[in-house]
Symmetry: C2
């Protein structure tokens, strides 16, 4: 890549996407952050995403409102459903949001193609994760193939590249890499059911995986949990 | 399929999507229409889509607002660009909207999965078309593969099926089939630069292809053109 290459970073304000931003920045990309507001239970993560985009010198940060919650189908977007505690299981949990990463990446592709940006970074991970199908390498490979044949840039032989630097790392490895790149994880928010004061629940899937990561990394967990 | 199977129909209010709705209806599906408002130059097509959904007894019709126009990159969504007249060419014209069908189908997939709907119909056509890459069979096949591995239904072996009944038909064949299924093409709107009275320009890509279709079908063109 040339020094001036731009990259779009899908930035939720969580641990994984912030580390992904730090990685893209460390590789010399000029970063454009895109965050989505889609009826998730709280807006803390969007606020944090804005702050993190600033702290990693994103050249732009866009908040895109998309009506995912209008069709429901997930405990994360339907306030009548209860978000469950973490459980060891191979089943896809009810926090799965139908087609979420498909929709996020599709928007990012449209944005990238319209603006002449050739790279997209997404912090999906298929090791310490909730088992969502749209976080796995098979999905990313199929999505890449789809845009190779379904976009103008793709058919002209200059397809936009989807980067997934975290996909095969453990949560502990992600945290150690992020710290080496200057990520302050106290500023990131991962919990699926943050309370009104912005405190994490400690028990949901996302908290459990995050907490395990800090233990594995040998780093004090900087998360503010409910008492 | 059982008599009660539901299908989502991507319904723009144009000639192709209306014929696609008529086909799905004729096959016995209970049809759910989805239309998108994305900053296209006029809203006539959305109004027509509503009326057509009613006339083909859709059990639901949803209008989804999505901010595609915020990233620009197309003559259809950027009012500072002029929509060109039809030209014989192999180049992809500037009316191409980056990732439009990718985004539309992604939303439809989320909607279908959340609501337990197994079929999506889209009126893409790769014969009499503007050369958009996201209208071709290669794209649809790659999109199908992507959702087979990227959705919960897909990995559970019950993937949502994308139907493209028009993909290899000429415009004349589409019109003849639609008429046999009761489509009143006077109610459909295809023009890229409809005027304020809802009259079609006669000269854009979409008008040229539509007009050619009526000639080929041997049917009087019911479109209201500007004088």
């Amino acid at each position: 890549m040339s020094v001036a290459d731009k990259a779009i970073i899908l930035l939720s304000g969580g641990l994984d996407s912030t580390t992904t931003l730090a990685i893209a920045k460390s590789k010399g990309y000029e970063c454009v952050g895109i965050s989505f507001s889609y009826g998730q239970s709280h807006h803390f993560e969007v606020e944090r995403a804005k702050e993190l985009a600033l702290s990693f010198q994103c050249i732009e940060h866009h908040l895109v409102e998309i009506p995912i919650s209008s069709f429901g189908g997930s405990a994360l977007t339907d306030p009548t459903q209860t978000i469950p505690d973490y459980q060891e299981s191979n089943a896809i949990p009810i926090t799965y949001v139908p087609a979420r990463n498909i929709i996020f990446l599709s928007f990012a592709i449209g944005w990238a193609e319209a603006r002449g940006i050739d790279h997209i970074f997404i912090g999906v991970n298929a090791v310490d994760y909730s088992g969502y199908p749209d976080c796995r390498p098979e999905f990313i490979e199929a999505f890449q193939r789809m845009i190779d044949v379904g976009t103008k840039k793709g058919v002209e032989g200059q397809s936009i590249k989807i980067h997934t630097p975290l996909i095969s790392m453990t949560k502990g490895e992600i945290i150690n890499l992020g710290i080496s790149l200057g990520v302050d994880y106290a500023k990131t928010v991962s919990c699926y059911k943050l309370n009104e004061d912005g405190h994490a629940c400690r028990t949901c899937d996302s908290c459990a995986l995050r907490s395990k990561g800090f233990i594995e990394a040998g780093i004090d967990d900087p998360t503010t949990y409910v008492k």
